[in-house]
């Protein structure tokens, strides 16, 4: 009797011992496995062009860029060694204030995505709306909304920028909330000019003017002197609100004020400002009757040579495409690939140091 109950106790003890140690080993082994995870959790430089939040200092309605220069010119992440010394020099030399034409109904659907993507590369960005919004933030221009208000909004926006910020930037870019801009490439184009020259750049159209004018949707950029003259034109009544066709009217005013319409093409004469999306320019054969043929100042090139590698802008870009273009421009690449187009450095810019 005693023997068998002892035996039972023994078996019971055996079972209990096994179970206890099993749970103990599972815990220990599990913990050890966790510690042995490969060190792929290196603090990723995915934030090198990081998104959101810590990008700006807000001053009134202006968003002042905090993130440049890029981490003292060089950053190392698990996937690449990235030099930005040239971009940083241009950032300091060619200061760009971007203002984005938007409206109260477009803040959530369009302007928000501009804010999350390309506008983070401007020295400063201001969102212009008919109505002030202190949270976004946007400036209130005191106009109504609608296509017929476009020129009014443009005039007021430039007057606002000239009054409050003309000493904080060298160039003043106007873009729509469906325009995508590669600001680093804009700096490259502008690096050959100075802020004191009366000149402006964009996608050049030819009708109705002597020297042409710049497409509104593709974005255009005025030098500080050009801005000064535009505002002066309205002050002295040389320029007035002639039509609501904003880009044409602006072009006509600037022509009157002696501002030159510049050539924004790259050194291979390829366009940099584009009035449509990349797919359209790269693949579509425009119908001969399409207005575009009669409007372009320079000869149209269809197919891959339509567009410079260092493109500055595209238009009719929806929210999804904004992020896709940001991904293509600043993230996705072919590792080790030697680009065909390698333009020379602008004057006064030092090259990246050789491989360390």
């Amino acid at each position: 009797m005693a023997a068998s109950s002892s035996r039972c106790a023994f078996y019971l003890g055996f079972l209990v011992g096994t179970c206890i140690l099993y749970f103990f080993m599972t815990l220990v082994w599990f913990e050890r496995k966790f510690k042995m995870q490969p060190d792929s959790q290196v603090p990723s430089m995915a934030g090198q062009w990081g998104e959101e939040n810590q990008s700006w200092r807000v001053e009134g309605s202006a968003l002042i860029n905090l993130r440049h220069p890029h981490l003292q010119g060089k950053s190392v992440s698990p996937t690449h060694v990235h030099f930005a010394r040239v971009a940083d020099q241009l950032y300091k030399k060619v200061r760009i204030l971007c203002w984005v034409m938007t409206g109260p109904d477009n803040l959530e659907t369009k302007a928000r995505h501009v804010k999350a993507t390309w506008s983070r590369h401007c020295n400063m960005v201001i969102f212009m709306s008919s109505r002030e919004d202190p949270d976004f933030p946007t400036v209130g221009l005191g106009t109504k909304e609608g296509r017929d208000q476009l020129y009014w909004k443009t005039i007021r926006a430039f007057q606002y920028v000239e009054q409050h910020h003309s000493h904080q930037a060298d160039w003043f870019l106007k873009a729509d909330d469906d325009t995508f801009v590669v600001v680093d490439n804009l700096r490259w184009i502008l690096s050959n000019y100075t802020a004191d020259e009366p000149v402006y750049f964009g996608k050049r159209f030819k009708p109705y003017t002597k020297q042409g004018y710049m497409s509104g949707g593709a974005g255009y950029v005025l030098s500080r002197e050009a801005l000064r003259r535009f505002v002066k034109g309205f002050r002295t009544k040389v320029c007035t609100h002639t039509t609501s066709v904003e880009d044409l009217a602006l072009g006509q005013c600037l022509e009157k004020m002696g501002v030159l319409a510049g050539d924004s093409r790259d050194s291979m004469h390829r366009e940099t400002f584009h009035p449509f999306v990349p797919e359209h320019h790269l693949t579509v054969k425009f119908a001969k009757s399409f207005w575009y043929w009669n409007y372009c100042y320079y000869p149209i090139v269809e197919g891959p040579q339509c567009c410079s590698d260092l493109a500055v802008s595209f238009h009719y870009v929806d929210a999804e495409l904004m992020y896709m273009l940001e991904y293509y421009t600043y993230h996705l690449r072919a590792y080790g690939y030697q680009y065909r187009y390698q333009p020379s450095l602008p004057e006064g810019v030092e090259p990246d140091s050789a491989r360390t």
């Binding site: 209990v16 698990p78 065909r340």
Partner: protein, 323 residues
């Protein structure tokens, strides 16, 4: 009383003896089991996740060695096409396939417009088998074999970068993997990579009618990607899921716009960072027009003033103007 006490004491001590023995038994079994598993994994690299080399790893190699590797890693692209997908076929010919060291198109049926190897069958599994056999027979000097569909866009330079520190004389079967029951396989839509050794073993098992029959498993029809996985499994080759050194997928079975849409919905604060790898290798479901956009986006569009001093060098292909 005394008798009960002594009974309890003897039971108690038996219990404790039992517990101790049970614990030792359990520990011994676990350790022995782990030891066995551990031993196996060093001989057959049975991981399921495989990563791109880190910059740190690459920089350990001397520069002449790195340049030598850039030139010696040769990829044979196997693209499976059908005449009804002619516009996709044309797009692949004109875009990413120019970056393969060798791009061979395998078609179910001959088409006058494009040169291809005709396999004279519409059966997907048979097509895949025959294409792989042909590639193996003509693939001396190529270390890696990449199988793709015409609606997939691939960045071969990133594939080479990924494969740089892997030995092609070892069996590798890499892609975007998915588990179906016990079987882990690489989805064909995301692109499938086989090392020379894996292909050699595969062609070997093709002649085994039991393990790897031509007509597939008759009882339950498997897709060709699963058949491939089963045959490879018999030769000891297992699918591995590819990731960059930040843990992001590099073989994608979806298009860029789908991935961005998903990121916008799930992580609106971090869309681009949360979406996709900087060194992604494939995207799937891209229209022919969109492949031209990807060529522009990958090989041309960039911000001025930002340079990458990569450890490898790849030159643009001759006779091409969209890259």
């Amino acid at each position: 009383m005394c008798k009960d006490d002594s009974k309890m004491i003897s039971e108690g001590s038996s219990f404790i003896k039992g517990m101790l023995l049970g614990g030792i038994f359990c520990a011994a079994v676990t350790l022995f089991g782990n030891f066995n598993k551990g031993h196996q994994s060093t001989t057959d690299h049975h991981h399921h996740h495989i990563q791109a080399p880190s910059e740190e790893e690459l920089l350990k190699l001397p520069e002449p060695k790195r340049l030598e590797l850039s030139q010696h890693i040769r990829v044979y692209c196997i693209i499976l096409v059908q005449p009804r997908e002619l516009s996709y076929w044309a797009a692949v010919v004109d875009t990413w396939s120019k970056h393969c060291d060798k791009a061979e198109f395998y078609t179910s049926e001959d088409v006058k417009v494009f040169r291809a190897v005709s396999l004279d069958t519409k059966d997907q599994w048979l097509m895949l088998r025959n294409a792989l056999k042909h590639a193996y027979a003509n693939g001396k000097g190529y270390s890696w074999f990449f199988v793709a569909l015409p609606s997939t866009f691939a960045i071969i330079e990133n594939l080479k970068y990924f494969l740089l520190n892997k030995d092609p004389s070892q069996p590798f079967y890499i892609g975007h993997t998915v588990k179906s029951g016990e079987l882990e396989y690489a989805e064909l839509e995301g692109g499938v990579v086989l090392s020379f050794e894996a292909l050699r073993r595969l062609v070997g098992v093709f002649s085994d009618d039991v393990k790897c029959p031509e007509q597939g498993r008759a009882l339950w029809k498997l897709t060709e990607e699963k058949e491939l996985a089963v045959c490879l499994k018999y030769t000891g080759v297992f699918a591995e899921n590819a990731e960059d050194s930040e843990g992001k997928e590099v073989f994608n079975t979806k298009s860029v716009s789908t991935l961005i849409k998903e990121a916008l919905a799930k992580k609106p604060q971090e869309v681009v960072n949360g979406c996709c790898s900087d060194v992604a290798i494939t995207f799937h479901g891209q229209s022919p027009n969109y492949m031209q956009v990807l060529m522009y986006g990958v090989y041309r569009l960039r911000p001025y003033g930002h340079t990458f001093h990569d450890s490898l060098i790849f030159l643009p292909p001759v006779d091409s103007d969209n890259d």
